[in-house]
């Protein structure tokens, strides 16, 4: 039990509570805020979406979050906003109004989650765009409408907000002027400042039986009903904000970088502009707001999206164990299904990979049953450099086709030094098939995953070497 201090909507909270329970349960059972719904308890439906505001300087930054996956302990010092916290006393706000007018709500169970996601979008963006606003509800599922009326409503919301002249204020003041948020939001920064946030203790893990929680977006799925009985150590990044940096040879990511921070990082955008769009396929907006790079790595899922990318980029991990530290290539980190080369007491402090050169090329591919908010059937990344048409430093990774995220060492080695032609590439496809051992599961049969990896490698090839692969050789 810890003392928890936070603000929920317009109410200051100070309570002795188990920091391991999820925010959703606290809101519903303790605060009786029933507008936040439980639909799946695994971050896959969005009915429990809330906004979590955190003080940055004298401004509060809000992010949409799945309250079913957020440990209550992480709410300390934050502003938790539920649907009840944005309701105007009588009238509907323009977002709510559009949902009613366009038939964007039928049974109503998922609706508060959609409203919260869109409110989060409006709070974080000065220039609103319908296409981006639609992405902000990528973590919300509506079974009744099938979403066409929701898309209509979103268009109307964005068009409506654009009509009003912008003041010089922040999105927050703008939204208050438009009656989308109540005025009390203006008082939040000062009120959060008054809450004492203990500095993050050293990340050393002092106890053997302690579960380390980073974003929690996978741990709380796997252990939905036992996490609150476990002793946890939370290392959520939100209070640290160490940015992604580059030096002359490497790009460095703090382990607690969230996937969304990675996706929107200027450093990443400079070298891999296409990743911003491609990583929209990683989870959903609220998942990416919490999930961390180190979490994705230690989770050791054979189909981790971040690991797939970082293996191809030949990333290294810096592990810290109290005062000591060591560095290990990610390609050597996985020892078997969910087996990693890490002591319980070690934490991934940072990840680094070689700074891309002008002749560096990258192709990332992921196919899942549903394009967004789904786990890959197969994912793969191909990274290489082109020296006078010759492939060098080739790194190909593949996920979903073995017990761990795979580095296709033989295939990569075979392609190194080659000026690619159809025959070499067909050889590479065959070598790749000898390096994988997919199994049949909910994400597809073993045969499918073999076929799919071949196809995705063909796709890598076609991006940089069009014309080399001919349809007749595949069909």
């Amino acid at each position: 039990m810890n003392i928890l201090e936070c603000i929920i909507n317009n109410k200051a909270i100070e309570v002795l509570a188990n920091p391991g329970i999820v925010v959703l349960d606290f809101l519903r059972q303790h605060e009786h805020l029933m507008g936040t719904k439980e639909g799946c308890r695994e971050g896959d439906c969005g009915a429990c979406t809330i906004l979590v505001g955190e003080l940055h300087g004298n401004e509060v930054i809000y992010k949409s979050v799945n309250s079913c996956l957020m440990p209550l302990g992480d709410a300390h010092g934050k502003h938790i906003v539920t649907i009840e916290g944005i309701n105007q006393p009588k009238e509907l706000n323009p977002i709510q109004h559009a949902f009613v007018e366009d038939g964007g709500t039928q049974c109503g169970f998922c609706t508060p989650g959609f409203i919260m996601s869109l409110t989060g979008y409006c709070l974080n963006n000065k220039q609103l765009k319908s296409s981006e606003a639609i992405h902000s509800v990528d973590g919300n599922i509506c079974r009744c409408t099938g979403h066409p009326p929701i898309k209509k409503a979103i268009h109307h919301i964005v068009d409506g907000l654009k009509k009003f002249p912008k003041t010089n204020g922040t999105p927050l003041t703008h939204l208050i002027e438009q009656n989308i948020l109540p005025e009390y939001f203006l008082s939040i920064p000062k009120r959060l400042e008054a809450i004492n946030i203990a500095p993050l203790v050293d990340v050393h893990i002092e106890e053997e039986h302690m579960t380390v929680v980073s974003g929690g977006t996978d741990l709380y799925v796997q252990k939905a009903f036992s996490m609150h009985a476990e002793r946890t150590k939370r290392i959520s990044s939100w209070q640290k904000h160490v940015p992604i940096t580059e030096d002359e040879t490497l790009i460095h990511l703090p382990g607690t970088t969230t996937v969304e921070e990675f996706r929107l990082s200027p450093v990443i955008a400079k070298y891999f502009p296409e990743l911003k769009t491609q990583f929209e396929l990683f989870g959903s907006t609220p998942i990416r707001n919490r999930a961390t790079v180190a979490g994705n790595i230690v989770n050791a899922s054979p189909i981790g999206d971040m690991t797939c990318l970082l293996i191809a980029l030949n990333a290294s991990l810096r592990l810290r164990d109290g005062g000591s530290q060591r560095t290990i290539p990610l390609r050597q980190f996985y020892k078997g299904y969910k087996q990693i080369d890490k002591k319980k007491s070690e934490l991934i402090e940072s990840i680094s990979f070689p700074l891309p050169k002008p002749n560096s090329r990258l192709s990332y591919e992921k196919v899942s049953r549903r394009k967004y908010l789904d786990i890959a059937s197969v994912n793969t990344t191909m990274a290489f450099e082109l020296n006078n048409d010759r492939i060098v430093n080739c790194g190909i990774s593949a996920g979903g086709v073995g017990p761990t995220p795979l580095f296709l060492a033989k295939t990569s080695e075979y392609l190194n030094g080659k000026i690619l032609n159809g025959k070499y590439f067909e050889d590479a496809l065959e070598i790749a098939q000898t390096e994988i051992s997919p199994i049949s599961d909910a994400r597809g049969s073993a045969e499918y995953k073999r076929l799919l990896l071949r196809q995705l490698m063909v796709t890598h090839c076609m991006k940089y070497f069009p014309g080399i692969v001919r349809k007749e050789s595949l069909v």
Partner: protein
């Protein structure tokens, strides 16, 4: 018109079962279910669980005071397993504790020893072992055997459709409060409150008048809460009456997915015969329905499959045979369309194959054979007010099929690795419960002395807007401010002996009953007003916009004055009325009759783009002309149609239920069972309602909307098949749905597309 429900939804103020504040002393229940799909229970050991923190009691079949029986049509399903388990997910015990967490934790300490028995998951295997839930069904028209020789083309094949998870966002749940005298009040997330009441009565062995079931709204139902909301309510009632404490049970998503049945998977054989001009002469089909471990609603679902086996086409010679096969899966149940989609998929597959054999577009055959007035359905009803051709023609006026084909062909010749495809999908769907006795409803209307109106019916609001439709009917009749009218919860004490809200008929049946009840009140009030205004001809009195008119002139009487005066004059301000659909009947012996009050028609054109490198796809456009009669609430009907289509497309594409050979559900979470999301919705969706469509069998010439548009989704499957063939014309296939990216890729690159997951 203001949508009162929607306004509460967007503020998060609408209450669902789990949102009700519970009384002090409430206990929480959790179900222990079998992890074995078929077996003999050797022992149940509760001792470790009983001593867990917070546990109050654990109930098994031994604790049931009445009959351990919840089967709706056939008494073949226990509430809690006794000697045998028949599916993985079958409830065995109910743990009751002081918190949901304690109940769940204790459940994990229950030890049940089960001797495994052979498991059947495939309906054809069940059929071959004579494992049928009910006797086979046959429907026949004309003489197929005498016709095959007259056909120029005869095509045979297999068609299969998969299951579908309802995925109502609100999981199953109930809350029971004991009441004095051994009675119980139950709040349930059910589409069928009377089924809940009747089953509690049977299981608890108490009369129905001691059981009050109340339903405010559902967070989605789609058929999944027609019969299968019952067990949880019964378990809560059992625990509440035994323990004399309120008991709540809300299923966790994974438990819900594992324990409840889904849309029935079907495997079917078809044979179709045509003349060279495209006229279909004969159609033979055999349906193997995967019913699961108990009958549930399977016989009724199968019957509707048979009724809709010729979709929107007239075929003079038809023979359909249906087998409801018993397998070791959770009993499959009602799901939007209720067997209709499964029947329609097969005839569409047959037409697609026949078109290939004849080297014509499927739409050529579809259009050629559309139903006309006077055509006979295989079940004997004659098509009346038939809108099949008007819908098709109206769509063609909006969009030229030739232009779409040219656009698709041009794209396909210009793109090697991406292909477009399209398909048309006409629908015809019969409205009425196929079980004639269920076509009844009643409404209770109170006008209170302040002029406000409370309406109770049998209809359950689950997002489909039935409350707003009934609201509109009452408002139209009384001509008063909409704010005066309130739809009450559905409650078995106020409106008894209800049919479930299902079969798209909720607004029709309950709307008609409301219309009748309101008309009685209106007549009474008009008569009274006439007396007060000394008008000898009551037909000259009218109410308009809260004011009373005499011979067309406004009087000083208002609605509130009239009500207050009527009450003072001791005139009853309450009316209860009953409605039963006229004309309908069905003879089960001859399989002939007039089972439907009317039919709903429409036509869709669906266009898709297939990424032939990756096997992934997008739905580009959906254009529809749909026959909704004269819509009571166009905004609601439009949104219903859009949602139904997306659910239908989901069923045909990304939604895949996978059980392994041991009958364990593999896709038991939202992380593995994927439904359409915001990005999956088509870039373009245009739905027009057919003009000039009349329907005397529903309120104010409206038509039912809930289920029919679901079946447009079938077009997405054939549009994808069309695109696949553009990439690989010689691909060989059987029409097996869903067309997941996996199946699409296997058809693009392999000879045989049967990558059945071996799990």
């Amino acid at each position: 018109m203001k949508n009162f429900d929607s306004e509460k939804h967007v503020r998060g103020e609408s209450q669902f079962v789990d949102d009700l504040l519970v009384p002090e002393g409430t206990l929480y229940a959790h179900v222990y279910y079998s992890r074995v799909a078929h077996g003999k229970i050797l022992s149940i050991n509760l001792s470790a669980a009983e001593t867990m923190t917070g546990v109050t009691a654990i109930f098994t079949s031994k604790d049931i005071p009445g009959a351990n029986q919840i089967g709706g049509i056939v008494p073949d399903e226990p509430l809690l397993a006794e000697q045998y388990v028949h599916f993985n997910g079958q409830p065995i015990a109910v743990v009751v504790a002081d918190s949901a967490f304690h109940a769940r934790s204790a459940t994990e300490k229950i030890v049940v020893e089960i001797e495994k028995l052979p498991v059947i998951t495939d309906p054809r295997e069940a059929f071959s072992k004579n494992e049928l839930l009910v006797p086979p069904m046959t429907i026949e028209l004309g003489d197929i055997n005498a016709t095959w020789s007259k056909c120029d083309i005869v095509v045979e094949g297999i068609a299969e459709t998969g299951g579908q998870e309802h995925l109502y966002l609100e999981t199953q749940g109930a809350f029971a409060v004991p009441v004095e005298g051994g009675a119980v009040k139950v709040v349930s997330s059910t589409q069928g409150p009377t089924a809940v009441q009747r089953t509690i009565s049977k299981v608890l062995n108490i009369p129905m008048n001691k059981i009050e079931v109340d339903v405010l709204r559902l967070g989605g139902g789609f058929g999944g809460k027609e019969d299968q909301a019952t067990p949880w309510a019964v378990m809560c009632a059992l625990a509440a009456t035994k323990l004399r404490r309120p008991v709540k049970m809300i299923l966790h998503r994974q438990d819900d997915m594992r324990m409840t049945g889904k849309r029935h998977p079907y495997s079917s054989d078809f044979k179709i015969g045509l003349k060279s001009d495209g006229t279909i002469l004969a159609y033979e089909v055999t349906f193997y329905q995967n019913g699961g471990a108990a009958a549930d609603l399977s016989p009724a679902v199968l019957q509707r499959t048979m009724f809709h086996c010729t979709n929107s086409y007239f075929i003079p010679n038809v023979k359909a045979i249906g087998y409801s096969c018993r397998t070791n899966l959770p009993p499959n149940t009602a799901f939007r369309g209720f067997g209709g989609p499964q029947g329609k998929f097969v005839i569409e597959a047959a037409i697609f194959k026949a078109a290939e054999a004849m080297n014509v577009e499927p739409s050529f055959i579809q259009k050629k054979n559309l139903l006309k007035n006077g055509d006979e359905f295989p079940y004997g009803q004659i098509a009346e007010r038939c809108q099949a051709i008007p819908c098709w023609n109206s769509l063609e006026q909006k969009i030229s099929i030739g232009n779409v084909k040219k656009k698709v062909d041009d794209f396909n010749s210009a793109n090697e690795w991406k292909k477009k495809g399209f398909a048309l999908m006409p629908i015809c769907f019969g409205i009425s419960f196929t079980n004639t006795m269920m076509n009844q409803a009643s409404a209770l209307v109170h006008i209170y002395t302040d002029g406000s109106v409370g309406i109770s019916t049998a209809a359950i609001e689950m997002g489909q807007g039935v409350n707003m439709k009934i609201h509109a009917i009452a408002q139209k009749i009384f001509s008063i401010n909409t704010e005066r009218i309130k739809l009450e919860s559905t409650n078995t004490t106020r409106v008894a002996n209800t049919s479930p809200t299902a079969a798209s008929s909720g607004a029709d049946l309950n709307g008609m009953a409301t219309q009748l009840a309101c008309n009685v009140l209106l007549e009474r009030l008009i008569k009274f007003a006439a007396e007060q205004l000394h008008q000898y001809d009551p037909t000259k009195i009218s109410i308009s916009d809260e004011k009373i008119f005499n011979d067309g002139k406004e009087t000083e009487w208002t609605w509130t004055k009239l009500i207050s005066a009527a009450n003072a004059a001791r005139i009853s301000l309450t009316s209860h009325h009953f409605y039963s659909t006229p004309k309908i009947y069905f003879n089960r012996e001859s399989s002939k009759g007039h089972p439907f009050a009317y039919h709903v028609f429409g036509t869709a054109l669906i266009e898709v783009t297939l990424d032939c490198l990756r096997g992934t796809y997008e739905i580009d456009a959906v254009n529809i002309v749909h026959d909704v009669g004269k819509s009571l609430q166009p905004a609601i009907d439009l949104s219903q149609a859009e949602g139904a289509i997306m659910q239908g497309i989901g069923w045909m594409t990304v939604e895949e239920i996978i059980y392994n050979n041991e009958g364990r559900l593999i896709t038991d979470a939202l992380s593995t069972y994927k439904v359409p999301d915001v990005h999956f919705a088509p870039k373009e969706m245009n739905i027009s309602f057919l003009e000039n469509s009349e329907n005397p069998f529903a309120p104010f010439n409206s038509k039912a909307i809930g289920e029919p548009p679901f079946m447009y989704g079938i077009g997405a499957y054939f549009a994808l098949l069309n695109a696949i063939k553009a990439f690989r014309p010689n691909t060989t296939y059987s029409a097996i749905a869903p067309m997941t990216p996996e199946r699409a890729l296997s058809l693009l690159y392999k000879e045989v597309g049967t990558l059945a997951p071996a799990l």
